[in-house]
């Protein structure tokens, strides 16, 4: 990178993001734990359908969407925004100014999530997958996002380092894309609903563009920034990364309409073609990742953030392959309407995106706050718990999903048997969710611990400031001296 401007002290840039990041990540960690608790309760219903059945707001059909939305809107989006903000500030060599706006926006966001989750649990969800939050929640979330994105864009616009790094392409595109899809979906599905199955098409388009395109843009932008930084090897190469960027947004935005949907045939066909072409960016992304970390995997393995982000990239490629398989008409017969789909979504949302964010947060938050995590040893435990959790959640659901699909395709097998055959797999996945909950708790403990440590230091500073006039060397004392001199 050229050095036209004197390189700023990176700690000044890091510290400028401190309070907005604490606000974003603190709430995100809370929603993460809350969402896993809801998901675990929902999963226990497969062991005993009558569990907590008298309580309307704990019925499966409300718990499951609430758990999903807590993960997506509660954790993934604010964590992604925080990481994007920091990465953009670092790459732009520009400190964040006017931090009060992102702080207010972060709190507004978390308030919106709270309203949305309560609304789903009391039965006020909109009924569209991944867009369940009603108006009272989606409006604050939308404006909070706009403010955060605007501030991140202002850092980007004021950048001292003019040459763009690939991560900036990914992150800027993501910042720009969410308001578009979120407002479109809310206007056409909730505010002025369109007629008939056009609703379903827009719903699928939105869910795909949020769950696949947005998460991939932010997650890959983050990974392409951190992997070279953590391994000490440059990104291999910028051109491949940019090629992946172009091909990815070109094809991935057209995925998501399931085959066999009761809509005009050209829609699912186009989606299937786009999904097949998605193999190109997937392959390129895998090559970029492999070539960047090749040779330094062993030496970087002790590094907590590297493990998280490396594992995240693996999950991204794997979930991408699962997505392509699901869109292929020859294979989709066995995966349609089965647990294979949720397995793929969980692998992408948690295995890829959340894990990448964990790695990034573990790296950047101590730098932004200027303090170490209170329990650095828990980072490693968190990694292993999450890894085992993802494996125990996704592998049984994917295998069980294909078996379920085979049974659904055979009309000689009674439907009740297809559900019954799925139960052992679902019960193993409960173990996975438990491990993930424990891992998330460790993350929560570290984030909250760091926040408390920071607040304590602030309090100490404040007390020191209050006491300071008594000391001769302090600012107040010198001011008093000046006055005396002038007098």
């Amino acid at each position: 990178m050229n050095n036209m401007f004197a390189k700023r002290d990176s700690s000044e840039i890091d510290r400028s993001c401190c309070i907005p990041l604490l606000a974003l990540f603190g709430g995100a960690a809370l929603w993460l734990v809350f969402g896993s608790v809801l998901g675990l309760i929902a999963s226990i219903k497969f062991h005993a359908p009558g569990f907590l059945a008298n309580c309307a707001w704990l019925t499966y059909g409300r718990l499951q969407p609430a758990a999903d939305d807590a993960l997506l809107y509660g954790f993934c989006l604010p964590a992604g925004l925080g990481v994007a903000l920091w990465v953009l500030a670092r790459l732009s060599q520009t400190p964040l100014r006017g931090a009060i706006v992102p702080i207010v926006a972060a709190n507004l966001w978390h308030l919106g999530v709270l309203v949305g989750l309560v609304a789903i649990l009391i039965g006020d969800g909109t009924g569209f997958a991944w867009l369940e939050f009603p108006r009272g929640s989606s409006v604050p979330i939308f404006f909070a996002y706009l403010l955060l994105a605007l501030w991140a864009m202002m850092v980007f616009a004021r950048r001292h380092e003019r040459t763009l790094y690939p991560s900036q392409w990914f992150l800027v595109a993501a910042l720009f894309w969410f308001p578009w899809i979120y407002s479109t979906a809310n206007l056409f599905l909730v505010a002025w609903p369109v007629r008939g199955v056009a609703q379903a098409v827009i719903g699928w388009w939105f869910a795909n563009n949020l769950l696949l395109v947005w998460t991939a843009l932010v997650g890959l932008g983050t990974a392409f920034y951190f992997l070279p930084k953590l391994t000490g090897c440059p990104l291999q190469s910028h051109y491949l990364a940019l090629f992946a960027f172009w091909t990815f947004i070109l094809f991935a935005t057209w995925c998501g309409i399931p085959p066999g949907a009761p809509v005009p045939v050209w829609l699912p066909t186009l989606s299937a073609v786009a999904a097949a072409w998605l193999l190109v960016p997937l392959l390129v992304i895998a090559i970029v990742g492999l070539r960047t970390v090749w040779g330094s995997v062993k030496s970087s393995w002790d590094n907590g953030p590297f493990c998280f982000i490396g594992f995240g990239l693996d999950c991204f490629c794997l979930s991408g392959l699962m997505l392509v398989a699901m869109a292929c008409p020859q294979i989709s017969r066995w995966t349609d309407f089965t647990w294979f789909g949720p397995a793929e979504t969980q692998l992408r949302l948690y295995g890829f995106f959340a894990m990448t964010m964990f790695g990034a947060v573990y790296y950047l938050l101590p730098r932004a706050v200027g303090m170490e995590f209170p329990f650095p040893k828990l980072v490693r435990a968190h990694f292993w718990l999450s890894l085992v959790g993802v494996a125990l959640l996704v592998v049984p659901l994917a295998i069980g999903g294909v078996l379920q699909g085979l049974k659904l395709q055979n009309p000689d097998i009674a439907f009740a048997d297809t559900t019954k055959a799925m139960l052992p797999f679902l019960r193993v996945s409960t173990l996975g969710l438990t491990a993930m909950l424990l891992g998330n708790l460790l993350f929560f403990v570290n984030i909250i611990g760091l926040t408390l440590r920071w607040k304590l230091a602030l309090l100490k500073q404040f007390i020191a400031f209050v006491k300071s006039p008594l000391e001769p060397g302090s600012a107040c004392a010198s001011l008093r001296r000046d006055k005396e001199v002038r007098a």
């Binding site: 409300r62 008939g196 199955v197 563009n209 309409i257 009761p262 829609l267 659904l408």
Partner: protein
């Protein structure tokens, strides 16, 4: 690549393209959807759900039923059955002709050829279109779901996961409101091994006073509430049941034709 403009332009083109394709185009093509006529009839379809069923759709949405149930029947293809309607003047000859032939599960060309043969032998035959596929064999519907089925629904609840069976034809399969209500109250009472959670919070269990409620559920022997008590559905339960009863996938349409079995008089 010194500034952000190419990024902006690239995103705008790639992302905006998918917006035009998957938001604008479907709204233009489907958003102005109109009623269609039922095949071989002048009746319009769909007519919209009755009032209580419309409120039931909101109960269905509020309780997230679509988390476990789809409303989209899949179909892998169509087959033609040739049905003899009249043996004509030479019944023995026609019977002789068709006894050696397979009349079911043919493609269109084979079915046409067969009808020609039967006509040549003096008999009369017609072709019945049968939708095929595992969902159809499971009797989850007589044909695949089409866009028209959801014309008046808001929100459209297609679902994506079959933890429970497909409900597109639930009203045809179980037209008994009491069965639907008992199933909602205690699924395992009527479907052994069902994984569905009971929706007891949509019902009230109360002591029978002077006269039992006319709405009280009728249970099979030994599965109801204790003697002296009755289970009364709330308004929401009744609306939900009305919605389930309004679900049908048994109307033959131009996009999804089939021949009604009521007209079949098998030889």
């Amino acid at each position: 690549m010194k500034n952000g403009f190419p990024v902006f332009l690239a995103s705008l083109l790639a992302l905006g393209g998918s917006w035009c394709g998957f938001v604008l185009a479907p709204i233009v093509q489907l958003g102005g959807g109109q009623q269609t006529t039922i095949l071989n009839s002048s009746d319009l379809y769909p007519l919209g759900r009755p009032g209580m069923a419309n409120q039931g759709l909101q109960v269905y949405r509020a309780n997230g039923c679509a988390a476990c149930h789809t409303e989209q029947v899949q179909q892998s293809g169509v087959a033609c059955d040739v049905v003899l309607t009249s043996a004509g003047k030479d019944p023995a000859g026609v019977t002789n002709l068709i006894s050696s032939l397979n009349l079911n599960g043919l493609d269109k060309a084979a079915a046409d050829g067969l009808v020609d043969k039967i006509t040549a032998a003096g008999g009369k035959a017609e072709i019945h279109i049968i939708a095929t596929g595992p969902d159809i064999t499971r009797s989850w519907g007589r044909r695949h779901s089409v866009a028209e089925d959801f014309l008046y629904d808001d929100p459209v609840q297609l679902g994506s996961l079959r933890i429970g069976p497909d409900l597109a034809d639930a009203g045809t399969r179980q037209p008994d409101a009491n069965w639907q209500l008992v199933h909602l109250y205690a699924p395992q009472n009527v479907v052994k091994d069902s994984a569905m959670p009971p929706f007891r919070y949509l019902f009230r269990v109360r002591k029978i006073n002077a006269a039992p409620s006319p709405d009280a559920l009728v249970f099979s022997k030994g599965s109801g509430p204790p003697t002296g008590y009755e289970v009364v559905p709330t308004a929401r339960a009744q609306e939900l049941a009305a919605y389930l009863l309004s679900l049908h996938a048994d109307v033959s349409l131009h996009d999804a034709p089939f021949t009604r079995p009521a007209a079949v008089s098998k030889p």
